[in-house]
């Protein structure tokens, strides 16, 4: 047989063979050719629906009068089957009622959140003298306050996410 024909046949078989094989294997599931089961699992487990990433819930809030700090413990559930490393978090704390700036809130230490795991995340707000005088004038006699965390920015695995909507937290103790 002519060598040229043999070489052409090799070319055609090497190129078309695997593609034809894949098409035959996936003939009953053509979508599977471009969307592997791993991607389907991810979509089914949370990435397909952003609402599965629920907002953090307040677990506790403790006011330290000597340090003038408020320590908030929030719990967060990771809905997907992968580990996140929460490296940093930052937010502006504002009074929910009149949006007066009260303090910056920062994450105390990085947190690793395993697949489908719920963890407590601790953030600290340092009240300034202006903040405390605001409590005494605008919220005199109140022992708690509703606040908004605005510009909430988190760094997860070096991906930075800034929420467009404020996160409201109710009944923060403000004994001054």
């Amino acid at each position: 047989m002519n060598l040229g024909i043999v070489l052409t046949l090799i070319s055609v078989l090497c190129t078309a063979g695997p593609l034809a094989g894949a098409v035959i294997v996936y003939q009953n599931n053509p979508v599977g050719l471009v969307v592997p089961p791993e991607v389907n699992d991810l979509v089914g487990n949370g990435f397909g629906n952003m609402s599965n990433f629920g907002m953090p819930q307040l677990v506790s809030a403790v006011y330290d009068a000597s340090q003038h700090t408020e320590t908030l413990v929030l719990n967060f559930t990771n809905p997907v089957n992968m580990t996140f490393a929460l490296k940093s978090a930052y937010a502006e704390v504002r009074c929910h009622e009149d949006q007066v700036f009260l303090a910056n809130a920062t994450l105390t230490s990085p947190v690793s959140i395993g697949p489908c795991e719920t963890v407590n995340v601790t953030v600290v707000c340092a009240w300034t003298p202006q903040t405390e005088s605001y409590f005494q004038t605008a919220h005199a006699g109140a022992s708690t306050l509703n606040v908004d965390l605005t510009q909430l920015t988190i760094n997860v695995n070096d991906v930075t996410v800034t929420l467009s909507q404020p996160l409201e937290i109710s009944n923060i103790p403000i004994q001054v």
Partner: protein, 202 residues
């Protein structure tokens, strides 16, 4: 009579086979989003994706294209080796013409595919993926429901990519020096042996 060998072809064949072996394990181009949040390892011979450090997974149609590349390059490498040992045979030129283009096509196809992918992603989604180096990328807010998401994207070529370029260069070299090889001159021209000693004066 000295046997004609195309040394460039021999080196090209060996390099091509070596390239296939290493490319199964080491990608040519690696792009990472965030710190291991999402990673693409790609080459014409093996492409896989990894999310959050999970087990890498492949897309079946890309896997089939990769397998086609493996078979094509393997055929090219083997036939280049066969040719390099018998360049003066009547079928030598056909073996050479079949095999020398394969690594070159693989490199060109790979680079063109990367550039096309980057241009398409930039045009369609406004996301600027670097081809080499690190860049902070912000996802369009239309994709993120108003939330601002920025990620550090790093991309780099790994050493098998440069090996592929070397293999393609050696293949082109084999083609260029085919005529010298069949004339049996290549050995003395490019791999010189020691010059003959001058006659002794006595």
């Amino acid at each position: 009579m000295q046997r004609a060998i195309n040394w460039f072809g021999l080196a090209a064949g060996i390099t091509t086979i070596l390239l296939i072996a290493v490319s199964l394990f080491v990608p040519w181009w690696i792009v990472q989003v965030g710190n291991g949040l999402f990673q693409i390892n790609t080459s014409p011979l093996n492409t896989n994706f990894s999310l959050g450090g999970s087990q890498p997974f492949a897309i079946p149609i890309i896997w089939a294209l990769n397998l086609a590349s493996i078979l094509t390059l393997a055929a090219g490498g083997i036939l280049m080796l066969a040719y390099s040992l018998v360049p003066a045979k009547p079928y030598g030129r056909k073996l050479l013409d079949f095999s020398y283009k394969k690594p070159l096509y693989a490199v060109v196809f790979f680079v063109v595919s990367l550039l096309t992918l980057i241009i398409v992603v930039r045009s369609a989604f406004g996301i600027d993926i670097p081809i080499i180096g690190a860049q902070t990328v912000q996802l369009p807010q239309s994709m993120t429901f108003g939330t601002t998401i920025t990620a550090l994207v790093t991309a780099n070529f790994a050493w098998p990519f440069w090996l592929a370029i070397a293999a393609a260069g050696l293949c082109v070299g084999a083609r260029l020096f085919h005529e010298r090889a069949i004339a049996g001159k290549q050995s003395s021209l490019y791999f010189p042996s020691a010059p003959p000693l001058p006659p002794s004066p006595n």
